[in-house]
Structures are given as C-alpha cells and as structure tokens.
Amino acid sequence: MKKVLSKKWKLGLIALLVLGSAQVVSAAPMQMHVMEGFLPWQWALFWWAVALPFWIIGIRQVGAILREQPEKRIYLGLAGGFIFVLSALKIPSVTGSSSHPTGTGIGTMLFGPFVVGILGTVALIFQALLVAHGGISTLGANAMSMAIGGPLIAYYLVWRPLKNSPFYVRVFMTAFVADLATYLITTTQLALAFPDPFSGFVGSWLKFAGIFAVTQIPLAIGEGILSVLIMNALQSNTEQELVQA
C-alpha cells in the first residue's frame, strides 16, 4: 500500500499550498487573531489565566492615572480609539494591502506597555463583539500575543535598551519586534495546543510559523517603516498636543 506521490504531483501540491496560503491570509480580514473555538477549552482557560496578572497590573496603572487626573479618561479613550483605528489604515504590502497591528507598536512608544495592554485588550474585545474577529474564549490568548506580549517584549528588549541609537532605528526596531513577537507568540500558542503527532511541538511550531510567515514578515517590515514615518511626522510637529503625550 504505497501512497508516495509522483514528483509532478508533489511540485503542484507545494505550489498550491504556498500560493493558497498567501491568498487566503491576505484576504483574511484581520491579521492573525486566534478564532473563536479554535483552542481547546483547557488552553483557552490557560491563556486567560496567564493574561490575568498583566491585566490587573495594567488596570491598576490606568486606575492610578485616573485617580490623579480624572479628565485623563477622555485622553485614554482617544488613545485607545487611535490604536484601534490605526489598524484600519491600509499600508501597501507585498501580498496586497492588509490590516495590521501598527497601533500596538506606536502605542507602546507613546503610552507605555501596560497601558497598551489594557487598551489593546479593549480593542480586541471590540473586534470580537463588533466585527466578530478573534473571540471570547480565545481573548486571553489573543491579548497575550497582541496586547501584552508583543508590546512588553518590544518595550523592554528594544525601546529602552536602544535609548542612545538613532531615532529611526529605535522606532523601526520597536515596531518590527512588537509585530514579530506577536506573530511568534501566536505560533507558539497554536503549536502548544496542536503538537505534531510525529515531530511534536517543534514540528508543529515550524508548520504554523511557515503558514503565517508569507504575510507576517513583509508586514512586520512594512509596519516598522510606517511607524518611523508616523513618529517622524509627530516629532517634527511642535503642536502642544505632544506635550500631553
């Protein structure tokens, strides 16, 4: 019972897989949120539990800001709105224009990682309840990758250490790493939940990383460039708005 396929079939299949994944990912409305129901309930609960301490720290920080300056409520609401809407800004990309999480990278630089953790989570809740992207059971996992993990890693491994490097390098790397970290954390979450029967966690990780690499890596580079342009425009503008930010 030998079922090894012939060479012609093989090439065709691989081409189909690569082209197909590029097509579907770029046609997909949001970047890579884990869909509702995709994670087994044990893993969904696990990621809620992991995200919880970060949410508590973030809510405490937001609460402290609001106790001192109640009027900041408006500011935070608009910062959150900005983060949400920025992801709707179309950027030209190799695989066609697509949505992306620029907001979290820029938000981290402007507002700090824990505040972005909260605002990003609210943005995810809105995406789930408003346009049915992402999900409720998978909210913990998505928040962990997009709102918490990406910004935290980018802030502490890039934004702070690169204090003395040229501004554009610092901004590009922060946005790039925030994006890449989000993508790799999601990959890890999927690989943990669905290990490969033959090659285990590692094989599964490589599979999911491969599926999403087609769009995510060009996107991360695009995000980096876009963030530099936005931050430059912000810097060269001396309006009083920046004093508050």
């Binding site: 079922k3 090894v4 396929l5 093989k10 997909a28 409305p29 869909m35 509702e36 129901g37 995709f38 087994p40 309930w41 969904a44 809510i59 937001v62 609001l66 109640p70 009027e71 409520r73 408006i74 500011y75 935070l76 609401g77 608009l78 959150g80 709105g81 900005f82 949400f84 809407v85 920025l86 709707a88 800004l89 950027i91 030209p92 943005a123 809105f126 789930a128 309840l129 408003l130 346009v131 049915a132 999900g135 409720i136 999927l190 669905f194 490969d196 029967p197 033959f198 090659s199 094989g203 599964s204 490589l206 599926i211 876009l226 342009l229 936005i230 430059n232 425009a233 503008n237 708005e241």
Partner: protein
C-alpha cells in the same frame, strides 16, 4: 463602518435585552468547546443561522458570507493540523517526501481537523450571532454590571464613541490623499502617504480629547460620565430557545458517544 455593526442596530432583536443574547452565545461557545464533537459544532451553526435569520431578520446571504469568510481562514490554519511533519518514513497515511522531511496526512489528523473546524465554526457562528444582533453599547452596558472597574468602562465608552469619529477622519484623509495620487505612485509614495495620515490622525485624536476635556471641565466634570440607562424588551421565546439549544446539542453529543460505543461493540 462594518456590515455587522450596521445590522446590530437594524435587526429585529436590536432592542432586546442584551443579557439573553449573550447567554445564548456564551452557552453555545462553551458547549462547542467542552463537548468537542463535529455534530455539536454543525448543530450550533444551524441554530445560530436560524436564530439570526428567522428571529432577528438578518439576510441569510449576509450571514452566510461572513461565515464562509471565516471558514476559509479556518481551513488555512487547520491545514497545519491536518498535515504532519516527520523526519523519517513512518509508513502510515498519505505521505509526501520533501527534502529530508516527510509531509504526512493520516486519517486521525484529518479527523482532528474536521473536529477543529466544526468546533471553531460553531463558536464563530455564535459570536457572529451576538455581533450581528447586539449593538456594542448594550454589551458594554452589560459589562458594567459585572466586576469590571467603573473607570475602565468609561474608557471603553469613550473609545467606542471615538472609533467612528476617528475612522471617518481617517477615511476623509485617505480619500483626499488618493485624489492627489497619494497611493497610486508605488510603494515608497504609498508608505509616505500612510505615515502622514497616521500622524495626522494622532493629532486629530489629541485635539479632540483636549476639546472634550475643556468642554466637560466647564460643565463641572468630576470624573464620572452619567447617562440614562437604555430600556430593553424581553427576549422572545428565550426559555424555549435556550432549552431547545442546550438539549439538541447534548442529544447530538449523546448520539455520537452512543454510536461510537455501538460501532466498537459490533466492529
């Protein structure tokens, strides 16, 4: 902004108490996850489609289109579950050598893929039902009654309000840029235009927040936004729907467990 949000305000269940709709959606998601059988997912899709189309009056075409888009995305991701990578030939399933590795598809992995896709589609259809029938303001109001801190809820309300204002601002800017060939002249120019739009959006957001702060301060704002509670109707047929839904999902689950046992007994 989005076809789903438009129907959230227009459908026949828009004025109905959000708690009932949320309970139906959450129970469905929970059962799809915990029972984890293909038939449960399929039944859930059927229920949610029926409720959205017949009870809420969402056009079947629209609901189907959203669900199909999700299924397409799902199909791609679950390919990673169906296809396994092995470092040597294990001699099982359909296999395909690629360099030093083997891509393997086994009946078990296909079964897992089907299970995953039906479970996720069941959950996604429940989320679609909630998003299609309930305005977000109502859901935020629902969150207010839970343990969430009041300050966070206020931030959410302001955020929701300004998403649409900012989105309109962004659309206008992008339209203005496009009409001056902002995005038509290659990658570099397109990026430049997007960068300018993003920065201007930030200024626009900050300017608005300052104006709003000033306006509120001049009216004696002390940190709390008080608004009248909206009134809701009772969800029609709520008890019957819930019992029927939960019952049929459990019956579907029971049938599969039963049939599995019988198959094992005879085979």
């Amino acid at each position: 902004m989005n076809v789903i949000d438009r129907y959230a305000y227009m459908n026949r269940l828009a004025k109905v108490n959000p708690a009932g709709k949320a309970v139906i959606a959450l129970v469905t998601i929970g059962l799809c996850l915990v029972l984890n059988r293909p038939i449960v997912g399929v039944l859930a899709v059927g229920w949610m489609f029926g409720l959205a189309v017949w009870l809420a009056g969402i056009p079947a075409k629209v609901f189907r289109r959203v669900l199909l888009a999700e299924a397409g995305f799902l199909l791609l991701t679950s390919v990673g579950v169906a296809v396994s990578i092995a470092t040597r030939d294990h001699g099982v399933g359909w296999r395909l050598p690629v360099g030093r590795f083997w891509l393997v598809v086994t009946p078990e992995s296909l079964e897992q893929m089907v299970r995953l896709m039906t479970r996720a589609l069941g959950g996604a259809s429940a989320l679609n039902f909630l998003a299609f029938t309930t305005p977000l303001v109502d859901l935020v109001g629902l969150l207010r009654r839970m343990w969430l801190p009041e300050a966070l809820i206020d931030v959410m309300v302001i955020m929701y309000r300004f998403i649409f204002v900012l989105l309109e601002t962004l659309n206008k800017m992008v339209k203005a840029q496009s009409s001056r060939l902002g995005y038509a002249a290659g990658y570099r120019r397109g990026m430049q235009a997007a960068g300018t739009a993003g920065a201007q959006l930030f200024f626009s957001a900050m300017r608005r927040s300052q104006r709003l702060e000033t306006a509120l301060a001049s009216r004696g704002f002390d940190g709390e936004l008080r608004v009248l509670k909206s009134r809701h109707e009772v969800m029609p047929w709520f008890g019957i729907i819930l019992v029927g839904l939960v019952g049929s999902l459990f019956v579907g689950f029971g049938l599969t467990a039963e049939s599995l046992r019988m198959l094992r007994f005879f085979g």
